[in-house]
Every structure is written in structure tokens, then in C-alpha cells.
Amino acid sequence: MSNSVLELNDVSISLGGKQLLEIDCRVGSGEILTVMGPSGSGKSSLLAYIAGFLAPVFESSGSVLVNGDDICSLAAERRRIGLLFQDPLLFPHLSVAGNLRFAMPRNAQHKSQAISEGLHDIGLAGFDNRDPGTLSGGQASRVALLRLLLCAPNAVLLDEPFSKLDTQLSEEIRALVFDKLRASGLPTILVTHDQADAERAGGQIHTLLSR
């Protein structure tokens, strides 16, 4: 159970002189901030900025604080920020367990046990040695979530992770994701254009205007 807090102080992202977005807010432990806006409004670039791989062609300013520490000076892999993409992006050359193990810190104890327990927890007991290519969309999304959590991040970013799932499945996965994130006490930023996502998230909503 983490009580990290994520703060975005006067974050502003521009491209070619035109400002794409600016945002200033605080996401507390277990809270979900929804950032909404139409395509082209720079939602994904915000996440890229926070995670640490914003393309150099963008101009950016402002600080991102995790528990009071500015992470902007850190390399992407040191930021401890989890990210869920639209596609589960499970490494196709590793097994399910391999994907999960990849995420775990090197000196974690009892990795296999943690993996089995985790899989059991999301309803995929015994899936350790499965080939990710054989999983259904829903199963893959669940494994992606587990992988993210096993990494023990301080904050989580969601980049429209439910948009490629059909309605019923996305309901299910959305519920799972939000429950787990709230339970783990991680501050989360959700980027989406889907109103339903925002409602289920139940947190603050920040709407970006299109330019």
C-alpha cells in the first residue's frame, strides 16, 4: 500500500511555438485524475513528458513531483512511473512469467511466488508459462496491469488503455484496473476521450481544449 502523491506544477507543453496544453494539479494517493480532450490536443505528450520520453521536438516546462521530489531530472527508467498503453504490449518473446519477472526489481525476494500469487489474484492462475501470443485481449490486459504493479511504481499513467477492448470487456477490465490502483494507493493519471472512463474513474477531470 503506497501513499505517494503526484504533483504537476505549471506543466506546459508546446510544439513549434504553439502551446498544446498546460496543467497544474495534485493527485493524491489512490486518486485518479482523468485528462480528457479530442485527438491532437496533446494528451499523449503529457504522459510522455511525465514518463520521460517526450520527443526533443516538443518544448516543455514545469515540474513533476513525486512525493515532493522533482523527477524531471531523472532518466526515464529511474522515475518509477508505470504506464499502460492502448495495447497490452506484452513482450512476445518472453512467457507470461518472463514478462512479470522482467518488471520486478532485481533484489526482490521470492519472485516466482509473487508471480504465481499475482496471477491467481487476477484470475489467471497457472498461466505462468503461457505464450503471451495465445492470450485473449482481456487476459493480456490483465497481465499488463499485473506487470505494472509488480514493478512497484510510485505513480501510474494510463494512455487510453481500454479503447481497443469491446464494451463488455472494457467494463470488466476498467473495473479491475481502477480497483487495483485504488487499493494499492497509487496516484493515477488517466488519459482518455471516452466519457464512460472518466465517470468510472470518479476523480478530478481536467479537460484540454483543442487548438
Binding site: E77, G82, F91
Partner: protein, 559 residues
């Protein structure tokens, strides 16, 4: 650090080529102390322009330099336009890489043994269809205007250009674009030519230029298929270099520079042609005709590859029959007796060259892969698209081998180095590098960047994500690039011969040494050994990923 390292590596590789060219060209202007001449003089050039038949030699080199890529590219584009997605296409894609690995000397021999008046084709149709009891007195192979040479070169270059095109296509989303064109009423082949070709061409321009230079300056293929009275310029330059009359060294140096000039001229003509064709293309694209030419384009496109395959299969057959034939008198279609004697005779001679060939090709390719991957990775990490240092990589493809190799030899002599394996591997590395780069770069750059992003969000350092994510995901393209690199190294002749002082023998050097004196049977044996080696490489490139990823369906996408 990575970028600095890869840049300095490229300079280190390009330096010998540039230096070598310089040193080798000094004699062209009269500077060559060992022969007593240390004053600038244009004597060699005067001699050069008095050489009989020089104009014809230059013309033939120039014409093959331009017609080869023209015909090959046309066939490749027409093929892609008419056959993408069809069943034929699936087969061709699988065969392209192995086809590429057919070393050009072996391919040239096979073709010669196929189409010659006393070749396989003639024997098959005689005396039945033709009534010939003795071979007809027609000049086919080594014909005066280089048509056989052109044929041989085209057969060799079509797979190469096809491979390069296939590598570049995915980023253009060809299927979508053609569908859009079709919804606008264009027939599929015409549609492809109007919407894909103009975007595809710039992506394959560099390979096309490599083809121009190769076609212009090739020695091996020209020796086997090219005209003899007079030979192409490159063949003549080689003979001047080898002439025991040491005075011809000046002439050879001038000739080598001339060859360089001819290659550059061919490139210039091509670029001008490009502009011209571009102009007409734009007019054609805007004109709006949707049907004209569809039938013809489709017919040529669909038949080009199968015909090419048949020719290659025929050449292979010619080599195989010759390698196992005992007594085979014209006009029998098949040998009257079969024997493995030729193989038995060659076995002991084969062992050392075989070992050397494998050692050199594997080493040079591994080194090339390391350099290429380091370069591509540093390019990716720095975020810059392409830097000018890349052009230095292609130098070995743009300057005739003969020119800078001679210079490199003199350099190594000055340094007191003996011919050794390391030097030969270095020489091979120079030639393998551009091909490995050409073949790997697209796949490398196209790899979904989100994989490394995911890895870094999961806490993986760039090094960890490189080794544990990027490299495994790129295993198949790396192996294919490696197979191509090995195939190139295996087919090299001049670098091994000159840098190894003839002491380091490979299959190719031995095979060429046999050309001047041996029977068809023996040449066929060596040609077959020469071409089976790259095939092994491609088999490995094909099957190792299949094996390693046998339980990973996500890795099995059609590359």
C-alpha cells in the same frame, strides 16, 4: 559515448579506402618511384586514350551501368505492382533472400553453362527441335555488345533490389494506399505504380546506386559473360595491373581513375534520368487514366519473377549436371555417364579454402553486425535521423575495388604487415558493412518504439532494454542481415586475393583460379560449393528464429 564510438569506427573504416584510392592514383599522374618516375606527368593518360577500343569498353561499362538498374528496377516495380498479396508473392518473398545469396561468380558460370551454344538449353532442344549435331556457331556468351553480361547482371540484381524494396515497403502502408486508389477507380497495377512507386523509389535510391557501380565496374561477371573484343573497362584495368610489363602500372592507375569517372558518370546520368522520369511520372499521375497499360504491366510483372526463377533454376541445373557428369557429348541432353570423380578429386583441395571461407565470412559479418547495431542504436538514442557519416559506409560500393585495394596493399607493405587473416577479414568487413547496414537499418528503425518505452517504465536501463528487449525482438532481421553479410563475404574475390597475397585461399579465389584452366566439371563443383555456403547461412537465418521462438506465436509474424 556510443555515438562517438560508432562515428570514429566509421571513419576508421573509410580512411583506408580514401587513402588507398589516393595512393593508387598517384601513378596515374606519373608518381611511382620504384619505376623511377617521380615527376608529375600526363603520359599515362595519353597512353590510355590511345588504347584501341577504349571508347567501346567505356560505352559497354556505361551502358551496363545504366541498363542493369533500369531493367531490374522496372521488373521489380512491375512485379510488386502486379503481384503483391498474391500466392506467387508469398513464394517469392521466401525465396528472395536465398536467391540473393547466389554468389555472382557461380551464378555467372551457371548462366553461361545454360545459354551457351553448347550449353544445357541447346543440348535439350537438340537435335530434336533444331537438327543440330554440332553446336551452332552463334555468339551468345561473351557477345560483342554485352547482352549476356546485361542478362547475367539483371538476374543477379533483381533479387537484391526486390529485397531492398520489400524492406522499405511496410512504412508506406502499400495496401491502404492501393485500396484508396482502387476506390478512386484505378486498376490495381496502375494504381500501385501511381501511388506507391514515387514514394518507394527514394527509399531504394541508394541500393540502386550500388547496383549502378557494381554493374559498371564488375570484374568477375564480366570475365565470364562479358564481351572480349574489347572487354569492359574494369577487365582491362585488371589485366593492366597484372601485366608483367611493369610500365603498364601507370596505365592501370590511370585506367582505374577512368573507371571511377565512368561510374560517377553513370550515376550522374542516372540521376538526370531520374529527374526526367519523375517529370513524366508526375504528368502521368495527374492525367487520370486508370486503365491504359494495366494489361501489359500486369503481364510483365507477373511473368518477370517466374521467368527469372526458371533461369536461375536452369543455371543451377547446368551446374549440377556438369558437376556430376562423366562423358557428355553434344548433343545429348543428359550426360551419358555420371560420376562423383570430380568431387573426389576436389575434396582435399576444398578443405582449407572451405575453412577459411567460413572463418572469414563469420568473423567479418559478426564485426559488421556489431558496428551496424552500435551505429543504429546510437542514432536511435541521440534522436537524430541520419548523419552524414553514414555516407562513408557506402564508399566501398561507390569506388571500384581495384582502385583502393592496390593502395591498401602498398600501405600495409609500408607498415611491414604480412598478409594475414586479420587483414583479409578487415577487407571483407569494408564490403560487408554497407550491405548489413542496408538490410538491417529499416527493421531496426521500424521497431515499435513503445517496446523500449514500456521497458523503461518497468525500470529497465537502456542497456538492459537493449539486450533483453530490442535484440531478441530483432533476432530474425539480425540473422537475415548476417546471412546477407556472409553471402557477400563468401563471394568476394579481389579483396581476398590481393590482401591475402594469394596465401589465404577461399572457395571463391580457388574457383576463379580454376577459370583460366579447368574443365566445366571442376568449375561446377567449386561453384556449387560456393553457392551452398550462403544457403546454409540463410537456412540458419530462417530456422533459428523458428526454433528459438517455437512457443512464441507473437514472434512469428511474416517479416
Amino acid at each position: 559515448m556510443l555515438r562517438w564510438a560508432s562515428h570514429s569506427l566509421i571513419f576508421l573504416l573509410a580512411a583506408p579506402i580514401l587513402l588507398g584510392t589516393l595512393i593508387a592514383s598517384l601513378p596515374a599522374f606519373g608518381y611511382f618511384p620504384p619505376l623511377g618516375s617521380s615527376e608529375f606527368s600526363l603520359e599515362a593518360w595519353r597512353e590510355l586514350f590511345e588504347v584501341p577500343g577504349l571508347t567501346r569498353s567505356i560505352l559497354i561499362s556505361l551502358i551496363s551501368g545504366i541498363l542493369t538498374p533500369l531493367i531490374s528496377l522496372t521488373l521489380v516495380f512491375l512485379y510488386l505492382a502486379s503481384a503483391t498479396g498474391s500466392k506467387l508473392d508469398l513464394w517469392i518473398r521466401r525465396l528472395v533472400s536465398p536467391l540473393l545469396s547466389f554468389p555472382h561468380a557461380a551464378a555467372a558460370f551457371g548462366l553461361a553453362f545454360l545459354i551457351a551454344p553448347s550449353g544445357l538449353l541447346s543440348r535439350v532442344i537438340s537435335p530434336g527441335l533444331t537438327g543440330w549435331e554440332r553446336p551452332p556457331d552463334i555468339l551468345i556468351v561473351n557477345d560483342t555488345w554485352g547482352l549476356s553480361l546485361l542478362f547475367g547482371l539483371v538476374v543477379k540484381e533483381v533479387p537484391f533490389l526486390l529485397l531492398m524494396s520489400l524492406a522499405a515497403l511496410p512504412q508506406l502502408q502499400p495496401r491502404h494506399r492501393v485500396e484508396v486508389a482502387r476506390t478512386l477507380g484505378y486498376r490495381p497495377t496502375i494504381g500501385w505504380l501511381k501511388v506507391i512507386a514515387p514514394s518507394l523509389y527514394p527509399l531504394v535510391r541508394l541500393p540502386v546506386i550500388a547496383v549502378i557501380v557494381f554493374a559498371c565496374a564488375t570484374v568477375d561477371v564480366a570475365l565470364i559473360l562479358g564481351p572480349t573484343l574489347p572487354p569492359t573497362l574494369s577487365v582491362r584495368v585488371l589485366s593492366w595491373f597484372n601485366d608483367p610489363d611493369l610500365n603498364l602500372r601507370f596505365l592501370a592507375a590511370a585506367g582505374a581513375l577512368l573507371q571511377l569517372g565512368v561510374s560517377l558518370t553513370a550515376i550522374a546520368i542516372w540521376l538526370a534520368l531520374e529527374k526526367l522520369v519523375g517529370l513524366f511520372w508526375r504528368i502521368w499521375m495527374a492525367a487520370g487514366n486508370r486503365n491504359t497499360g494495366e494489361g501489359l504491366a500486369f503481364a510483365i510483372g507477373r511473368s518477370a519473377m517466374p521467368i527469372m526463377l526458371m533461369v536461375i533454376a536452369g543455371s543451377l541445373l547446368a551446374l549440377l549436371t556438369n558437376a556430376f557428369s562423366g562423358s557428355w557429348r553434344y548433343p545429348s541432353a543428359l550426360p551419358s555417364s555420371w560420376t562423383i570423380q570430380h568431387w573426389a578429386n576436389s575434396l582435399s583441395d576444398l578443405s582449407i579454402p572451405f575453412f577459411n571461407t567460413v572463418l572469414i565470412s563469420v568473423s567479418s559479418t559478426l564485426l559488421a553486425l556489431i558496428v551496424v547495431v552500435a551505429t543504429l542504436e546510437s542514432e536511435r538514442q541521440s534522436g537524430k535521423a541520419k548523419s552524414t557519416a553514414m555516407w562513408l559506409l557506402y564508399l566501398p560500393l561507390l569506388i571500384p575495388q581495384l582502385v583502393f585495394l592496390f593502395g591498401i596493399i602498398v600501405l600495409t607493405e609500408f607498415a611491414g604487415w604480412q598478409a594475414n587473416l586479420g587483414l583479409v577479414i578487415f577487407g571483407h568487413l569494408l564490403f560487408v558493412l554497407p550491405y548489413v547496414f542496408l538490410s538491417l537499418s529499416e527493421a531496426y528503425r521500424q521497431l515499435d518504439p513503445r517496446w523500449t518505452q514500456v521497458a523503461s517504465t518497468l525500470g529497465a536501463s537502456p542497456l538492459k532494454s537493449f539486450w533483453r528487449i530490442r535484440i531478441p525482438l530483432l533476432l530474425a532481421p539480425c540473422l537475415t542481415a548476417g546471412a546477407i553479410g556472409m553471402a557477400i563475404s563468401i563471394s568476394l574475390f579481389l579483396p581476398t586475393q590481393l590482401l591475402g597475397a594469394g596465401r589465404i585461399t577461399t572457395i571463391t579465389t580457388e574457383a576463379v583460379a580454376l577459370t583460366s584452366g579447368a574443365s566445366r566439371n571442376l568449375i561446377s563443383v567449386w561453384a556449387i560449393v560456393q553457392l551452398s555456403l550462403p544457403i546454409v547461412g540463410f537456412m540458419m537465418a530462417l530456422f533459428i528464429p523458428k526454433f528459438v521462438w517455437r512457443n512464441r506465436s507473437g514472434m512469428m509474424d511474416t517479416r
